[in-house]
């Protein structure tokens, strides 16, 4: 007993001494930081590094430019270039058709936004049903599993056909007849299955210890889910979620088969009217204009989450 107490006291005293020393060290460091000048050698080293970095980026830029020029020259030098140029890259045709394609593209954006909200809600619901363990929910769990199996397995275009022409054919009261609404229903059915699986992966990625810890702190089952598990799950799967939404953005073009004039259909009409493929290029550019920022954003999130993982592992 006595020994132990003495040892403890000693330890405490040592600790305090250490703390004081640390503090002094720290203050000395700060003073040193204030009037620190890198040595001549260090300065030379930094200069060299800067020069090397500059040189590397110049070489990278030149090589990229040379590559682009080579590909461009090869394309222009090919014998069919004139025809390709007038059929695919016709400036007059591009200017003439772009406004109409842009009008159509507005419909794509609307469908995308409406579908995205519904998909998030439905997908999360499916995922939650699939990860719960309550025995009473077994029928619901089976239904959710079946849903995912079926709707993830059926090609989206097929779903658009089935919902678009099949649902109205039932002649039920209150069935929407607007083709784009039917198209959105089909897209939601298809993508909710994918997104549900993404959410499920996210929920499963949260370590059980987190749940146990939350329960031990006295949070209820619902509170645990809402405040501890879900935020981590969603954070973990943000990049794949965004990925699915980029795919969804492009797949809004599939709704064209039901009749509405979205961007791709407008482009097809213009192209087939004048036998000139340039309108397709306009539509492609519009889709790219939306998906590239989304893609970059997804990349950034992915990088951030990777950095976070490394930081956590490094502790």
């Amino acid at each position: 007993m006595e020994h132990e107490t003495t040892a403890e006291l000693n330890q405490q005293a040592n600790q305090q001494a250490n703390d004081r020393a640390d503090k002094q060290d720290h203050e000395r460091d700060e003073r040193a930081d204030a009037d620190y000048r890198p040595s001549a050698r260090q300065q030379e080293r930094e200069r060299f590094r800067r020069a090397r970095k500059r040189r590397n980026s110049v070489i990278a830029a030149l090589c990229t430019l040379a590559g682009l020029l080579a590909v461009g020259a090869a394309a222009v030098a090919s014998p069919g270039w004139d025809r390709v140029h007038s059929l695919f890259l016709n400036g007059a045709e591009f200017r003439k058709t772009l406004p109409a394609i842009l009008d159509g593209f507005w419909l794509n954006i609307q469908m995308f936004l409406v579908a995205e909200v519904l998909i998030l809600a439905l997908g999360l619901l499916i995922a939650l049903v699939r990860v719960t363990r309550a025995p009473g929910l077994q029928p619901l769990r089976l239904a959710a599993t079946l849903y995912v199996d079926v709707f993830r397995g059926v090609p989206t275009l097929l779903l658009v056909f089935l919902v678009g022409f099949g649902l109205p054919a039932l002649q039920l009261q209150g069935t929407p007849s607007q083709p784009w609404v039917l198209g959105v229903i089909a897209l939601v059915l298809s993508y909710a299955a994918y997104v549900g699986e993404v959410f499920r992966a996210g929920l499963n990625s949260v370590h059980p210890a987190q749940r146990n810890a939350a329960r031990a702190l006295g949070l209820s089952e619902t509170q645990t889910l809402r405040r501890v598990v879900l935020p981590q799950a969603v954070r973990n799967v943000l990049p794949p979620l965004l990925n699915d939404f980029i795919a969804l953005q492009k797949d809004t073009a599939l709704v064209a088969v039901l009749g509405p004039l979205e961007a791709l259909r407008v482009a097809q009409i213009k192209a087939d009217y004048a036998f000139n493929y340039t309108p397709y290029l306009g539509a492609a550019l519009l889709f790219i204009a939306v998906t590239i920022p989304l893609t970059r954003y997804a990349d950034r999130l992915q990088r951030r989450s990777a950095l976070r993982t490394w930081a956590e592992a490094g502790q």
Partner: protein, 292 residues
């Protein structure tokens, strides 16, 4: 050292790309020179301008619909366009068995580059704009547009185009019907554009659209065999008096265009074309005219 290596690597890469590009193009057929001399040799079954020697390769889209084709089998010689193709082949000296049918999706038919067919027959309207991309033969049929509704529809009694202003109209993509609807009916709602006439008929039966506008023979076919309780409202010409004329589609600068024109002129002169028209498209004649 490293700098030299990078530069060498970069220029080597460029050289490789350029060389590959220079080697890649296929040798071009000297088709243009033969085009002018559309004499007897150029228009025979051994013409050097044929896609395959001793054989006439004819393209159309799939599915191929009546009354233009029969039962999606162009090779049976039944249906108007199938019959015309065989008649043209006959004039050029090909026997039935020397005609080979291939499938060519409409969107691909006007792609640049070498064609995999001698001519494409697919209800393709000849316009000056389109003729910049491909060659067209002279016309073998002049189509007018027609309107199809359900008998129980509220538009079933319409007698003019303006009565259809507020109707939801369906057209098939890649047809001139779309422009005809926009220009002649000037609808208040955007037309719905479908991939196939089948989709149009479905949408009509589901009540998703009120009327189908497409060329007259197709409307007759739809009303006759695909749609229960349909009613043909009537026909209207399009493009301010310029009739819509179907031509055979050939590759730009094809050496065969003159031959095909010659053959079609022969078929017009000896009455074959008229006979085929009345044989396969007879019912189209007596639809009422829809005025604006």
């Amino acid at each position: 050292m490293s700098r030299a290596r990078t530069v060498v690597a970069a220029s080597l890469g460029a050289v490789v790309v350029l060389t590959a590009a220079a080697c890649a193009p296929q040798p071009q057929k000297s088709a243009t020179s033969a085009a002018s001399g559309a004499g007897s040799a150029a228009c025979s079954i051994n013409s050097p301008n044929l896609y395959k020697q001793g054989q006439l390769t004819v393209a159309t889209d799939s599915p191929a619909y009546a009354p233009w084709f029969d039962n999606n089998t162009p090779a049976d010689g039944k249906g108007f366009e199938s019959a015309v193709a065989y008649a043209v082949a006959g004039k050029l000296g090909f026997s039935q068995s020397q005609v080979k049918w291939v499938v060519e999706p409409f969107d691909n038919s006007y792609a640049p580059g070498a064609k995999t067919f001698d001519f494409d027959i697919n209800e393709i309207s000849n316009t000056p704009e389109r003729a910049k991309a491909v060659d067209f033969s002279t016309s073998y049929y002049t189509a007018s547009q027609a309107v199809l509704v359900l008998g129980k529809s509220k538009y079933a009694g319409a007698t003019s185009l303006s009565a259809l202003k507020d109707a939801k109209i369906g057209v098939q993509v890649a047809t001139t019907s779309y422009q005809a609807v926009i220009d002649e009916i000037k609808p208040t709602q955007q037309p719905s554009v479908f991939n196939t006439t089948n989709d149009e008929v479905n949408a009509l039966q589901n009540g998703q659209i009120d009327a189908v506008v497409t060329d007259l023979p197709t409307v007759f076919y739809l009303a006759g065999s695909e749609l229960q309780g349909g009613k043909i409202l009537g026909q209207f010409g399009y493009a301010g008096g310029t009739p819509e004329q179907f031509g055979l589609l050939l590759g730009k600068g094809s050496g065969l265009t003159a031959c095909v024109d010659q053959a079609l002129a022969g078929l017009k002169a000896d009455g074959t074309l008229d006979r085929l028209t009345s044989q396969w498209l007879a019912s189209s004649a007596n639809a009422p005219e829809l005025k604006p």
